[in-house]
């Protein structure tokens, strides 16, 4: 509430200030819950703690019931093209909001420019990627069933861990012969650690060393580090399926049990990466990539061929000086996504076929 003070300048009244403080507290609490879900979300889920997020689609920060009636109310101008945005570790759907206003997102821009109906996924990022992948596949099946119009096309935009959850969902969806996988035309990966995240590898080494030192306080420090969630541990090598982690020691030193899975057939896959520096060859970028994910991991180029992911070189774009989180709300990134979306859909599948040959 703005009022004029004696000097004629706008001032904020007490009720207004209280509102601001209350909003700030709510926002901080929400961020805190997101972070808790990222760090110990698996524990919260196992304990059935109320702080644990369940997987749900959101629109304008409200959860959606996947029924035709609810979708007609939330999206009065629903189109036959849907766009699903999947956030990363310790985040929620608000990560897609441009900083200067709370409403502009890649989803809202794609709705305005190309007629895609946006949906935002929220999930417990502390749970295993494969568990979230299976749930995501179910959510997309439910969406398809409830969609009030014939759904012709789905595009998936996934940031960071969301990229792994998306690939996992596509693989489980294909395995279960779900209908939604046939609707997916394009998948965009923004800084997704397909081959693992260096920070998680570093923490794995540190905790192993701490526990190896025969001192109670170092062991305690190692045990505290090992409390991090299953979701975080899956980021070590980019685990996507249950078989990657079941009956394996999650804290074994840099032991990679990852099984190779194919990209979704019939869909075009695009990779967007960021760098911390202007020059992509700068040592800082070579070491730290976008701050959390290095380029070889985001582009699926492994030193071991069996883990390589056949992304097409023309389907990769790098954005200098765009950090990991900035990838979710950068005008340049949006222009690139829009431009790829405008490409003829038939070229996408043929590119994929070529990549697999």
């Amino acid at each position: 509430m703005l009022v004029q003070n004696e000097t004629g300048k706008n001032d904020i009244s007490w009720p207004g200030r209280l509102d601001q403080v209350s909003t700030a507290i709510k926002r901080t609490a929400k961020t805190g819950v997101c972070i808790l879900n990222g760090i110990i979300g698996d524990y919260l889920h196992d304990q059935q703690n109320e702080l644990a997020y369940s997987m749900q689609l959101y629109f304008q920060n409200e959860p959606l019931d996947l029924t035709p009636e609810c979708l007609n109310i939330s999206h009065p101008n629903i189109t036959s093209k849907a766009c699903i945005l999947v956030h990363g570790l310790a985040c929620d759907e608000t990560i897609w909001n441009y900083a200067d206003d709370g409403e502009t997102t890649y989803g809202s821009l794609l709705q305005r420019d190309l007629g895609y109906t946006p949906f935002y996924l929220r999930y417990n990022t502390g749970r295993h990627v494969s568990e979230n992948g299976k749930l995501f596949s179910t959510v997309l099946s439910d969406l398809l069933r409830a969609y009030p119009k014939p759904l012709e096309e789905i595009i998936l935009i996934a940031h960071s861990m969301g990229g792994l959850v998306t690939r996992s969902a596509c693989d489980y969806g294909t395995e279960d012969q779900t209908d939604w996988v046939n609707k997916v035309r394009r998948v965009f990966f923004l800084g997704a650690p397909h081959l693992g995240a260096p920070l998680e590898k570093f923490v794995n080494v540190v905790s192993w060393i701490l526990k190896a030192v025969p001192r109670p306080y170092t062991k305690l420090s190692g045990d505290i580090l090992d409390l991090r969630s299953s979701g975080i541990k899956d980021l070590r090598f980019g685990y996507l399926r249950d078989e990657d982690w079941i009956r394996q020691d999650p804290d074994a030193l840099l032991k990679n049990n990852k099984k190779t899975i194919p990209l979704l057939a019939g869909a075009s896959h695009y990779v967007i990466t960021g760098t911390l520096t202007k020059d992509p060859r700068h040592p800082v970028t070579q070491w730290f990539g976008d701050g959390l994910v290095r380029q070889p991991s985001a582009t699926g180029q492994s030193s071991q061929d069996r883990h390589d992911i056949p992304f097409i070189p023309g389907h990769h774009r790098e954005f200098p000086q765009v950090g990991h989180l900035k990838l979710t709300r950068s005008p340049g990134v949006y222009q690139q996504i829009k431009s790829w979306c405008q490409e003829a859909s038939s070229s996408g599948s043929s590119h994929y076929q070529k990549a697999n040959l």
Partner: protein, 88 residues
């Protein structure tokens, strides 16, 4: 309200498990000098006596912390439930 209850439960668990871990480290560090002293015949009887007193003190102090934690948690949960009923 339900989220606050979840937070109370989480804090209680963290304090409880944290206390148990620190107690374990505390006891293990404190046992170091006593292990050596207990092997020296002249001071061994006194050392064992002091060790016993120290062990009991540690158990009591951490026990009190756990009890206060349980009490505070139960009180917070009751207050939240009362607040909820008043609002209804």
């Amino acid at each position: 309200m339900r989220k606050l209850l979840g937070l109370v439960e989480l804090i209680q668990t963290v304090v409880d498990k944290g206390t148990a871990s620190i107690e374990e480290v505390h006891t293990s560090i404190a046992n170091g000098p006593f292990t050596i002293l207990n092997k020296i015949g002249v001071v061994a009887p006194v050392s064992r006596c002091v060790q016993e007193v120290q062990k009991r003190t540690i158990v009591s102090v951490y026990g009190i912390i756990r009890a206060v934690n349980q009490g505070a948690g139960a009180m917070a949960k009751t207050l939240l439930q009362v607040r909820d009923k008043i609002r209804d």
